[in-house]
Amino acid sequence: MQLYLPIAEMSVNVLLILGMGGLVGFLSGLFGVGGGFLMTPLLIFVGVPPTVAVGTQANQLVGASVSGVLANLKRGGVDFKMGGVLVAGGLVGSVIGVWLFSVAKQFGQIDFVISVTYVVMLGSVGALMLNESLRAILKRRKDNSAQGKLHQHTWLHGLPLKMRFPKSRLYISALAPLGLGLMAGILVAIMGVGGGFFMVPAMIYVLGMPTSAVPGTSLFQIIFVTAATTLLHAVATQTVDVMLALLLLIGGVVGAQFGGRIGGRLRGEQMRFALAVIVLLVCLKLFADLIITPDDLYSLSLPGAK
């Protein structure tokens, strides 16, 4: 079953796009990541122009995140106060990110900046998470009764402007989530993704939030970031294809519901281990693309693209 996408100016297989939306939506609900780091390469792989892929999947992520937040809400896994502080930081960060983006573009190496940012961010985040979750799994096997501290105390806890986050059982400086949101906002503007794969581990390891509250809170933050990105793309680049977004949404919202449910049954370290493996696989693929001799050295781009 084929459908013509008016903005992308191409025809796609409806079932294929629904399936892609479902798969990424499932991961989104499970881990609290937006899934943009998976969806963008998938869409480009089936022939959607890169700019349309980025603009449209931002729109799709809004819907998937709403569905994911609602699914997590039932389990009580959304810290709205924490989410609000993250959003505030994220909005400032995206302004800085857009500025950095235009500077890199002036030097003509934006492609390189994007690729390297992806590989470095995915690689370091994935490795860190893999290491930690493996240790946690092994530790649990050895000693079931161990009841450690809720989280480690670091220099972050010495910062001023302390705030209480009852939902996350935290009493920390508001500057920490604000700064984290800021960094995520910068990455979102440069990489064109929701930033969840970076936020989720950062919320666990840097802020010390309980794993159960992380996916919902991260998705809550992603709603706002992706809504802003959709608007920006609709106005500035006109690359939001509502037909494509609709197909991805149908698959995505359903997938996110299933993911959210299964996520509730998984143990924290198992979830982090699975996310780490996926993040590292995507990182390896992108790294391989950078170093393996491509089949065709040449590529075309139309003025609309880029």
């Binding site: 809004v62 819907g63 190496q109 609709a234 977004a245 491509p294 040449y298 590529s299």
Partner: protein, 242 residues
């Protein structure tokens, strides 16, 4: 009254003009509608010639600006390095003929009439040392996307006078006013040529979406977001009930 006389005069002249022509043709569907169900289309060119000869049919979409980039290895990483910009590349170009074009006419004649992929005029800005490699890559990529089809013996003769050619437009073909050209060759020379427009246009829902996205970009963005939020909420509602 005088206008009516003009029309009458024109009608009287027409048969004379038609008789002087060695070639006449038309398109079965001069308006191709790109709807949400569009998966490509066929343009059927049919017509008649006054006596035997060879035919070359071309169909060409409006020009687009295309940038061709070539990757090179820098510190072990493959990056886009050189770029050549082509300000005017046809978005679609098809050629069909009664037999291989090089048998129909000499290369100079084909070049003069710009017939065939080799004779496409593709001027480039910032031409590097190996412009030929970039040009070849451009044509190869377009062919792979089905945008430069070349079915050489695809003009079929029905008897000595009637001809018919089917040109295939892929689903990703650009919209715009295309030009269909038919050239009649005899003894390696053009003895007749005719041109007619073919309009490829988005219609219905797909056209309305594109127009709305252009005209009311902010509203379109807001609606897209609202729509996504609604879809997410609806999905949750559906699943909650179960």
């Amino acid at each position: 009254m005088s206008r009516l006389l003009w029309v009458l005069a024109l009608l009287l002249c027409l048969p004379v003009a038609a008789r002087a022509q060695s070639l006449a043709f038309d398109i079965t569907a001069p308006l191709i509608a790109v709807t949400t169900g569009f998966t490509g289309a066929e343009v059927v060119v049919f017509g008649a010639i006054d006596s035997e000869g060879d035919l070359i049919v071309t169909l060409r979409a409006p020009d687009q600006r295309v940038t061709v980039r070539r990757k090179a290895r820098v510190l072990g990483l493959w990056l886009n390095r050189e770029a050549v910009e082509y300000p005017a590349v046809p978005g679609y170009y098809a050629i069909a003929a009664t037999r291989p074009v090089e048998e129909i006419a000499r290369p100079e004649t084909l070049a003069r009439h710009r017939l065939g992929l080799d004779n496409l005029v593709l001027e480039s800005r910032s031409p590097g040392s190996d412009g030929a490699a970039f040009r070849a890559a451009l044509i190869r990529t377009k062919q792979a996307a089905g945008l430069f089809p070349t079915g050489v013996d695809s003009v079929l003769m029905r008897g000595p006078r009637l001809f018919r050619a089917t040109l295939v437009l892929p689903a990703n073909t650009p919209v715009g006013t295309y030009q269909a050209n038919v050239f009649l060759f005899r003894n390696g020379q053009v003895v007749g040529a005719q041109q007619t427009p073919v309009i490829v246009s988005k219609v219905g829902a797909s056209a309305e979406i594109v127009e709305f996205a252009r005209e009311y970009a902010i509203l379109y963005g807001l609606l897209a977001v609202a729509f996504a939020v609604l879809a997410g909420w609806l999905a949750d509602l559906v699943f909650r009930k179960r």
